[in-house]
Structure formats: structure tokens, C-alpha cells
Symmetry: D2
Subunit: 135 residues, 4 copies
């Protein structure tokens, strides 16, 4: 069980009203829950600026499987960095396109370097990296 | 096979040198391949500003499975929007934390709305959405 | 004077410790002040997704003033949209380059459209838009 | 005068069509100009990941001038870092709010540190940093 503590936080009235509408629109359960998520997001954004931080990431790639080398090369790169790759998910999106998601764990520097290497692979059309944290 | 056409593009010398080093650092096969990826990225960035665009997305969530309701609630939301969800991947990151990735297909509006709903769920610590395109 | 109200917010202990270090590293005066800023940022991020929101923006552009038409064309575009432009700042960065910042007020749609028009102008090397709010 | 060189770039037909519509929508003069801007943006995005890169930046801040200390404190911080600050622009947005833009030059590390310090100042409601380059 996580230990919970309660702190008094000062809000100005106008912002509190706007925040309460925001909470309703977004569907948060209450102010504490919304604030906890804003804080986590700020901590993650800060952490990812440090190349040495250990983080978790997902790399989303779209590629055309008709390009005969791409799948082979991506697999080759992944095996070469198997220590960074926790798991992967593959979806056949349509006749031509595959979407692949890799779950990565490592330093920001290593995650970015592997992400760059895969994104640069011929046949990969689009690649985007998300850094998160099992905080 | 995709049909390829060749066009003459004017570069200033200094930028071309910097671009060539960038290509080497990032590992792109050649200028054409790097430029194709920059263009795809620009098209995706533009497309996601329109709430009516149909796109593909991945939603990455970290949550604590000890929170007894979160897994049940996330499953409930996902079934309610099964038309948007193509597939999902679940990883047990450590004793406490799960990472889940959903592959979504639909309009930007619907994707953002589902993403907000799941991110707001109590117990979800961090959630990040990537929009991409099977262009 | 802004009216201030105090609310009890629940934190889990571990996150509170991490948040307190974050506050120290970033230099925030106290938790309430840091939270107010996280909330403002979240409200701005949400607001800018709606093309009809009225917001304030700054557009930062770098251009080469040796390109004979660019300054003339940028001035021409600005006069054509003078209702959107509140003010501007110009700095001669080096022998070749100028940096210009425009303060814009209007709907997100109009701000983005003017920003695109100026960024597309020949001679503008780099342009970046920030949306904010006088919340 | 900048020296210009022309290179043959391979496009696949479908992407070229989409890129040509993008160019028209965004108002770029021609393909070469659009590509030069995409390249500059990619170079800037890469450069800002290195804390030691020397870059140019604009920091946009919104604050309430009724908060009696904020203007004094911001001026104090700015004088302490005058070597980083090239120029600034101040606009009275409404009865309560000021918008201030600083033009900064220095390493990414120093720019981020000054930006954090000012953003953390009590009374600053929102602050956003743009990194660019006089490339």
C-alpha cells in the first residue's frame, strides 16, 4: 500500500474554478488525482533531459513490409540491442503497412540512440519515441 | 512496388554539409531517405491538428496493478471503445508497475477523447499519446 | 487582489518527496506555487487544441537580411494582419541573421495561419510558435 | 551570397503528391524551400538535446504586475545573467497581465537554467522556452 499524506495547497479562486472544470472535462476523479498526474508528467519531462537517466520508453514505427530488407534489418538491430528491449507488438495495419511498438528500458542516451538507428532504417516511414517512467 | 521519381532540389552549400553530417550521425542511408522521413513527419504533424483526420495512434500507460480497480476499469473503458482499439500490449515492469500500450485507429477527436478518459482513470500514473499515420 | 483559498490535497509519500526535490531544483517558492504553474500549463495545453480559442502567442523567426525580399515581404504580411499583431521585437544577431519575435493575439486558427504564412516566406530559416494565455 | 548547389532527390510518387499539396497549403515557394526548412528544423531539434550546444532562444513569460515583487525580482535575475540576455520586449496585455519576451544566447544548459529560474519566480503564471539557431 502506498502511504498517503494530506497537505494544504493555496489556490486563487479563479484558477480553482478553471481547474475544476478541467477536471470535469478530462474525467479525473478529484483534484488530488489530477495534481498527482500533473506532477508525474513534470517529473518525467525533467528526467528525460538528462541523457544518463534510466527510463522506460515506447518506440512506435510504421513501415512497409514489401520493402524486402526492412523487417530483417529491424530484427537484426533489435537482437544487437536485446538488453534494451523488453517486448514488442506488431500489427498488420493494411495490405502494405505494419505498425510495430517496442518497449525499451535503459538510459535516455541509449534509448535515443537505438530509436535513431531504427528510425533511420530504410523502409521505416515514421517513428516516434515516448519516454515514461515506472515512477 | 512504389513508383519513384527524381527531382532536382536546390541546397545552399553550408546547409548541405550540415545535413550530410546529420545523415551520418543519425544513420540514414542517403539524402533521399532522410528527406522522405522529414516530409512524412511534417505531414503527420499537420494532420494531427485536424480533429476530423483519421489516424493511427499508440497510447502508452503506466499504472500500479495493486490499485484494485484500475485494471478492471481500463478493461471496461476499452470494451466500450473496442471499435477504436486495434490491439494492446501489456508488460509487468516490476513488482508494482504495469506498462500497457494500446494501438488506436480513428479520428483525432475520438483518439484524444479515449486517451483522456484512460489517462484520467485513478491508478494510471502516466499516459502519453503518439499520433502517426500509415501514410 | 486575487482571492486565495486553501484546499487539502492527498499525496503519496514517495511522490511528495520527489516533488519536493523537484521544487528545490527548479527554484519554486513552495508547493502551492509549483502546482499553480503545472495547472496553468495544463490549461494552456488543452486550450490550444481548440482552433477557436482566443489566445496570446509569440512567433520567433530567424532570417537572413541579405535576402533582399524577406524583410519587405514579412512587413507586408504583418500589415495585412495588423489586427493579430500586438508588437514585435527585432535583433541583429550577427552579420547575416536577424531574429524577430511577434506578439500575437487572436484565435488559435488565425494565429496558426499567420504563423504558417510567415514561416513559409522565402528567406525565413526557422520559425517557432508558442501559444500562451493571459489567464 | 549563399552558394547554391542542386542535387537529385528520389521521391515516391504518392508522397510527392502529398508533399506538393502540403507546400500549397502552407504557402512555401517551392519544394527546395520547404525541404530547406524541414532540414533546419531537424538540425535544431537535434542540437537542443546537447546541453553544451550554443543556441539562441526566446523565453515568453506572462505575469501579473500587481504582484509587487515579480517585476523587481525578474529584473534582478536578468541583471545577474546579463551575459545571456540579448534583448527583451514587454507588452501590457490587459489591466493585470504583462507579457515579456527575452532573447537569450548561450549554451542550452545555461539557457534552460535561466529559463527555469525565471519561470519559478512567484507571480510568473506561464513561461515557455523556444530554442532556435542562427544557422
Amino acid at each position: 500500500m502506498e502511504k498517503v499524506t494530506r497537505k494544504g495547497i493555496a489556490f486563487n479562486r479563479k484558477q480553482l474554478e478553471e481547474f475544476d472544470s478541467f477536471i470535469k472535462r478530462k474525467g479525473f476523479k478529484n483534484r488530488s488525482d489530477a495534481i498527482r498526474k500533473l506532477i508525474t508528467d513534470a517529473l518525467v519531462e525533467e528526467k528525460k533531459l538528462n541523457p544518463e537517466s534510466r527510463m522506460t520508453a515506447t518506440l512506435t514505427m510504421v513501415y512497409n513490409h514489401h520493402n524486402h530488407d526492412v523487417q530483417h534489418n529491424l530484427t537484426h538491430i533489435q537482437h544487437h540491442h536485446h538488453g534494451l528491449i523488453r517486448s514488442s507488438l506488431h500489427v498488420h495495419m493494411d495490405n502494405d503497412n505494419c505498425l510495430e511498438v517496442l518497449i525499451l528500458e535503459g538510459t535516455v542516451k541509449d534509448i535515443r540512440s537505438l530509436s535513431d538507428e531504427m528510425a533511420a532504417e530504410k523502409g521505416v516511414k515514421h517513428a516516434k519515441l515516448i519516454l515514461t517512467d515506472i515512477c
